[in-house]
Symmetry: C2
Subunit: 523 residues, 2 copies
């Protein structure tokens, strides 16, 4: 075997597949930024066509033979670390992909495009019926996918593994869904059910303590309306200030904020604006800019290959939550930002105080909407979805019963009941897009973010003193070096352990929240 030539052919095949994937990402970005109302069906056909082509390329026989041969001889080829880990991960993906017939991949792709369009409409009209048949179809197809992937193991974990390699929900049977992968058992990630339970208990205790505050924040600062056009320029400024590059990205408007990558130098972020409530867009932007800065920090030379790709969705979310919360909701951030934003509001923020913005940005109040939840209750929203999607996949819960189950859990965990579908089960895009097993990565992201900030402080010293001067480069450079530069060469659990010097742990997040919120609540 001519190893360098074979390696180049495998990588070239993947790079060409990545070109198509970037094109598919544009079809999807455009669908969510302003597709004409009647154009949805044809767009679904376009996406279906590309997803089929992409899948065919992933299971192409000449490619897979080369890949298998490289993988079998991996130890003897003298590859560097990025090359070897890329081959390992490509082989792992191939093992998964070859289990899925193209017809199923295309059916899921089409159901999800139509599902998202139906979700958008159902949410707008608060009409669950419009979405229910789509969700039934999507869950049926995702179950079929899980059965093919799990090979007799836990169905939910087979889906979860796509978003966070090595994670599992089922503590009784470790790793059973991944028997066919070449993942060494030692590197398997945490048991989510356990870590979620510990976190839940600690957060409950914290919430009880906060209730004892004699002077809680009021949220009054956010009641000042700011013109949407002014908000738009403030958000551009804020994303740029923390380090998101507009030479390689853009900020647009959509219903459900997201971040998407369309090429090595094209990572786009989207937010939504509310004239009456400034934080909706602002924290949406900081969050998505955090995702975007991770993508912008990945090695462009490796674009499309595992060594140039994000390590997992938990790590991705750690970057967004870090910039949104650990930075954007810190007192030092507001000491720096208040005057600068006030100058751009046309007078609306004339009497705004950094301390009050800081306190109001951290007001804790059990609520209905995940994306607007405070940091102390946010993970309860995730827990609800984590429990429900496990039961939807296992068919312990039917789609028809899901709205009631949703509302019961909200009452149980958060003490609130949605008054309608739009603020209840229809609030998230994920299930309509086939993203089942994705939600837990949000909580993993919060946990990782707290661990990373703790480690960055260890290495860089007083981060707050930097934020107060608007100096975000040192933290970004640290993240570039510790996290971004490695792409997916390490498994998420290992990447975080290397950066932080310790494995996944709920304690740093709990400590961070206690410290900040006791200050906010003057306890």
């Amino acid at each position: 075997m001519n190893a360098p030539a074979e390696l180049e052919r495998v990588f070239q095949h993947i790079r060409e597949t990545a070109l198509l994937e970037a094109t598919q990402a544009l079809l999807e970005w455009d669908e969510r930024t302003g597709l004409p109302s009647m154009a949805g069906e044809y767009r679904a056909e376009q996406i279906t066509q590309l997803s089929g082509m992409i899948h065919e390329r992933k299971i192409d026989s000449a490619y897979s033979q080369r890949l298998t041969s490289l993988h079998e001889n991996l130890e003897s080829l003298g590859l560097n670390f990025a090359q070897a880990s890329s081959i390992r991960l490509l082989y792992r993906d191939f093992q998964r992909n070859k289990r899925l017939p193209t017809s199923l991949v295309q059916a899921i792709s089409k159901a999800c495009v139509l599902g998202q369009q139906a979700w958008e409409k159902a949410r707008h009209q608060d009409d669950w019926k419009l979405f229910k048949p789509h969700l039934e179809e999507i869950m049926k197809l995702k179950r079929e996918e899980a059965q093919l992937l799990a090979d007799g193991g836990n169905l939910y974990d087979a889906l979860l593994d796509q978003y966070e390699m090595g994670a599992r929900s089922d503590s009784s049977k470790p790793g059973q869904g991944r028997a066919s992968t070449d993942q060494p058992a030692a590197s398997q990630g945490a048991n989510l059910t356990d870590v979620f339970a510990k976190l839940r208990d600690a957060l409950r205790e914290l919430l009880t303590q906060l209730k004892g505050s004699k002077n809680p924040p009021t949220g009054a600062s956010w009641k000042t309306p700011v013109d949407v056009e002014k908000q738009k320029s403030i958000n551009l400024w804020a994303a740029k200030s923390i380090g998101y590059s507009f030479d390689r990205g853009r900020l647009d408007e959509t219903t459900h904020p997201f971040c998407t990558t369309l090429g090595p130098n094209d990572c786009r972020i989207l937010t939504r604006y509310d004239r009456e409530y400034f934080p909706t867009a602002f924290y949406g932007t900081l969050h998505e800019a955090g995702h975007g800065m991770y993508e912008q920090g990945l090695p462009t030379d490796w674009y499309g290959l595992p060594a140039g790709k994000y390590a997992g969705l938990g790590v991705h979310e750690s970057q967004s939550r870090l910039w949104e919360n650990m930075v954007g909701r810190s007192e030092s951030f507001w000491l720096w930002a208040t005057d600068k934003i006030a100058a751009q509001t046309g007078g609306a923020w004339n009497n705004m105080k950094p301390r009050e913005l800081f306190r109001d940005a951290n007001l804790v109040s059990p609520s209905l909407i995940r994306v607007e939840a405070d940091e102390a209750t946010y993970n309860m929203h995730i827990l609800i979805r984590f429990e429900m999607e496990q039961r939807l996949i296992s068919q312990e819960l039917s789609v028809g019963d899901a709205p009631d189950a949703w509302n019961e859990r909200y009452q149980h965990y958060l003490g609130v009941t949605p008054p309608n579908y739009s603020d209840g089960i229809l609030q998230d895009v994920h299930w309509s897009a086939g993203l089942v097993g994705y939600f837990p990565t949000y909580t993993l992201g919060n946990l990782y973010a707290a661990q990373l900030v703790q480690a960055a402080k260890r290495d860089l010293g007083d981060l707050d003193a930097m934020f107060q001067k608007g100096e975000f480069v040192p933290l970004l450079e640290w993240l570039r070096h510790q996290v971004h530069a490695h792409g997916a060469s390490y498994e998420p659990a290992e990447l975080i352990r290397n950066a932080c010097g310790r494995p996944l742990d709920h304690q740093p997040l709990v400590d961070y929240l206690r410290q900040k919120l006791f200050k906010v609540y003057e306890i």
Copy 2:
């Protein structure tokens, strides 16, 4: 042969190709609406990849065998008109496409993406050097393409034929560039050199007559600035008012206005705004909306197939120029629109008079910029490009000498000399996008538009009385019936002859201009 099954397979192949073409159109639309500055190179790779796939599909051997067999037996298959004309045109396209190697198609595609990016920058910086090497490369590749297509015939006509089937520049050797197509000689379109010469002479006479006016329009109405945000909503309203559907389209901003189709229900238009000069955006929008309404009027069931496609670029341009000029610059239009626009300008148009807007909208003045030229001098701009691109392709003129040749011709035909490149040879996107042989279709469009309006008046009566009441539906319905519904089933020359009852003729345009401009100039 199982003809219905074979026909369906051929049509299905083309429909799937059209899906990819729609995706490529999105890549290009997005490139021109807000691609991040560093993302151009990767976008070029994406477009190159798709253009290669599309070309491969067009010359696919199973497809071409089926198509050839259907074409050979066309008379005996009992197909309906739309089916038969689609097979005829697909075969004709295939005969062209198979002459072009995929490597050349991809090379042109890539050169044009990079060319457009370079043009954008060169125009912005008024730096011809930035664009010159790109134009040299593009002209070299287009010449290569023309040589392969012309098969010994006239090179320029081989390119022209792609945009206006049957048209030719070379009166001495009729149709020589199309020897290999199955086009019957009888249906060949007009000789452009001849018709352009007649038009040029008539327009020169008209221009001389206008100079004798004692009370020419001043253009003062357009000197009132209107906020860009207000212009945006006025333009949305105007496009909607004349019949462009926003359920199947959208209006965006770009450097060089255009219209593009991304699916049967997704035809997008773009314009550019100038706070100081209202007509830039307004007539840009009416023009592109005219293109868009044509696309929106094509039979959606036939999307992707010839029977669902525009008949040619001359016909396309006739639709845009008809709505821009024959409607949007008529006195009756302004009698209807003035108050309605004034109400949306926030006071800026408080004292605006319909008669003055009408007169100022028709001010004739030889100028530098084609897209801002009045109707009487516009075709001189086209004549310049028509002459220059013939000489660039035949190598009588080098790219290096082109700016001087441009400026000399502007002095000769219009009496003006560009003070810089941006307002001279760098003003149009076309050559940077490989569109050589495209410009003459603009003049054809003007000629066809005047013929169509003459015929519509014959069938519908007093159009001006309708415009004055804001009734544009009857004219649009007439165009839908006479032009849009037929797709490309008829050749352009035949389609226009059927609708108007007479062949291509410069006289209706000259008559229309004389009638309107004598009124404007009070002669």
